[in-house]
Structures are given as structure tokens and as C-alpha cells.
Amino acid sequence: MDNRYSGISSDGLWHNNIGFVQLLGLCPLLAVSSTVINALGLGLATLFVLVASNLSVSVIRNLVRPEIRIPAFMLIIASFVTAIDLAMNAWLYELHKVLGIFIPLIVTNCAILGRAEAFASRTTVDRAVLDGFMMGLGFMLVLVLLGGMREVIGQGTLLANAHLMFGSMAENWTITLIDDYRGFLLAILPPGAFLGLGLLIAVKNIIDDKVTRPVVVETTLATENS
């Protein structure tokens, strides 16, 4: 467990990314990433819950007894998700309607309970908050990337329905990349999401291979001499 700020950040964004590596929270990830705006909405909500949950769990980590830690964590997470659901219903009404049941389903996102149990409950508040933020950012990255891919291939646009999140000034933010596009249905349906995520993971692994191979060689040489 890397405890430096830089290690926590790189873990959350890349090396231990929730969507690319841990493969947690796939249900909302695949269901909601059909457009960039939907993905952004759920990503931000999850990010907020992760930060709030990690912060709370880390603050109470010495008060909660081991036997009740999981129920206590779940109580905290569920309370924050309910609060966020109400807040989105109040101030982002249209987006809340579109995302529908997937906002309360953030509670079932294993990544949140996972970070609380594996990290936030064992470390200082500042590290826990950073971890929550970076993990949330990493998850949002995957969501938005997948959302962009699926929106372009599926309906030929980017940032469609931006006004759901940014208000009436965003009504003409839609970038139509392909005019008169009949749409590729597979990309919008769940199987397309699975395929898309698989492709993204494959690309990430290729990048990892190319970047880390020199480091691996160095380590082997060092152990041979000792």
C-alpha cells in the first residue's frame, strides 16, 4: 500500500483504477455510460460519495469496533448516497430523472465499501480523502471515456443533452461528429458497453507493457548481484 501522495494519486487514476483494474462498480459503469453527460453525472455523484465516505470512515476509524465496522461503513455510505439522491432531485431534476435508479444504486458500488475497508479505515484523514478523490476521478475517467466512445459510435454526437447538467446555456453544446448518422445500436446497448470496456482495458494493458518493461529489467539485474 503506497502511502505517498503521489503513489495514492497514481494508484487511483491508473495502477489500481476502479474501472480498469479492480473492475468494481461495473453495473452502473456499463448501464449509464451511454452518453458523456450521463457518464459525467454519475461519475461526479460517485466521486462525491467516495470522498465523503473515505473522509467519514477515516475520522471514525479509531472509534468503530472491528465487529461492527462493515455495518457502520454501510450506514455512512447509504446516508451519503441518499443525501446526494435528494440533492440531485432538487437541483439537477432532469438529469436525476435520466439517471433514475442508478443514483441510489451507487450504494451497491463495491468500490466504495472496498476503499473504506481496505484503505480509509487504516490511514490518516488527509490520505483517505486524497484516495477517495483520486479513485473517484479514476472511475469518472473510465465512465467519461466509455461514454464518449459509445456516444460517438452509437449516435454520432458528443455532449448531447448537455443542458441536463449545465442548464439552458448548454443547449447548443452538442458536437455532431457524424451528420445524419443512423446510429450503431450495439454501442448503445449493454453488450456494446462490455465490448467497449474490454477494448479500453486492452489499450491500458498495452500502454502499461510499453512503459514498464525497462523498469522490470533493472530490478532483475539488481537481485542477481545480491
Binding site: I76, T82, L86, A90, W91, Y93
Partner: protein
Amino acid sequence: MLVTHMFRTAILLGLFAIIGTGLVALTFKYTEQPITESERKALLRSLHALIPPGSHDNDIFNDVLTVSNREYLGTDKAMRIFRARQQGRPVAVVIETVAPDGYSGNIFLLVAINQDGTLLGVRVGKHKETPGLGDVIEIERSDWVLGFTDKNLNNPGAPGWRVKKDGGEFDQFTGATITPRAVVKAVYRTLLFYQAQGDALFVEDK
């Protein structure tokens, strides 16, 4: 010793529950007003979509008759009937109704009926139907609900007011029959309600 330990642990968990619930209650209190306001705005948008503003000259949102009729409107709760008038003469109504037999419970509907008994349109409000399967009844997801426009009690006749699976004229969805079936039944019941009540619906509400 063990008992005190268990006791303290239980109290601690109870404390967490109280704090968590407190947070939710606080958020509920602060969001109640904006939520009601947003729902009111959404209702207004639906009303304008169902009854074109040019066809009436009264304030349809405030020209309301409140009724309670479980047999026809699907619930004991007070349901609103919005009346549209042109120069004092009845033009159309929008009736709040409920389909209580949806897959996951109540489906709230707005049914707009022209003064001659023809459907002007139907819109779906709050519901808990399955995303991707049952929520196809929403106009944002598909055109299915537009299929009610211009229908009335004779078009189709009584046997036609069912989903195709039950021998009627209305499409059901792949993987979701219960939801459209419930909506079709509710719309039909609302048409019957309108026919039974007639002009009584346009009486000025005191």
C-alpha cells in the same frame, strides 16, 4: 465483561444509525421545496405538451377539480383534473390517474381528453418500472405513448383496448408486458370515467 463489550458496541452502532438518519433528514428538509417546485414545473411542461396553449384561454394549471375515485382512477388519493376552457366553454381536460398494477407498483399518468371524448395524449409521470424494459412508456424513451393520441372509446372498441398479447391493438414491449398492459388499462378506465362524468367535470370548484 463480554456483555458490556457487546452492549457498548451495539450502542455505538445505534449512534452511527442516528447520525446517518439525521443527515438524511436534514437533507430532506432542505431539498423538499426545490423538489416540489421541480415537479410542478415538469407537470406544467406536460400540460402544455398535451394541450396546445392556443386552444384555451384560461389558466389551466389553476383551474382544477379534485376528485377521489379508486374504481376509475386507480387510487384513493385525491387526483387533480385540469380543465381547459376557451371563452368559458369547455375545451379539454387533463386527468391525473394511476395504474396500480404496474410491474413495480403505481404508475402516475396524465390523460388529456378532448371535449368530444377523443384522447389528446397521454404522458407518464412518476413510476418505478424497470429501466430499459418498462420505462419505454416514457416519451423520452420511445414514441409508444403517442399511440394513444386520437383514440377514443369506439376507436378501438372495448376488445381492442388491450395489449396485442391479450388480443388488443396496443403493442407490448420485448421483455415487458405488465407495464404497457397496466397503462392501457388505466387509460381505458380514465376514458370511461370521463364518459360517465361528462359535464360535471367542468363545474367551477368552490
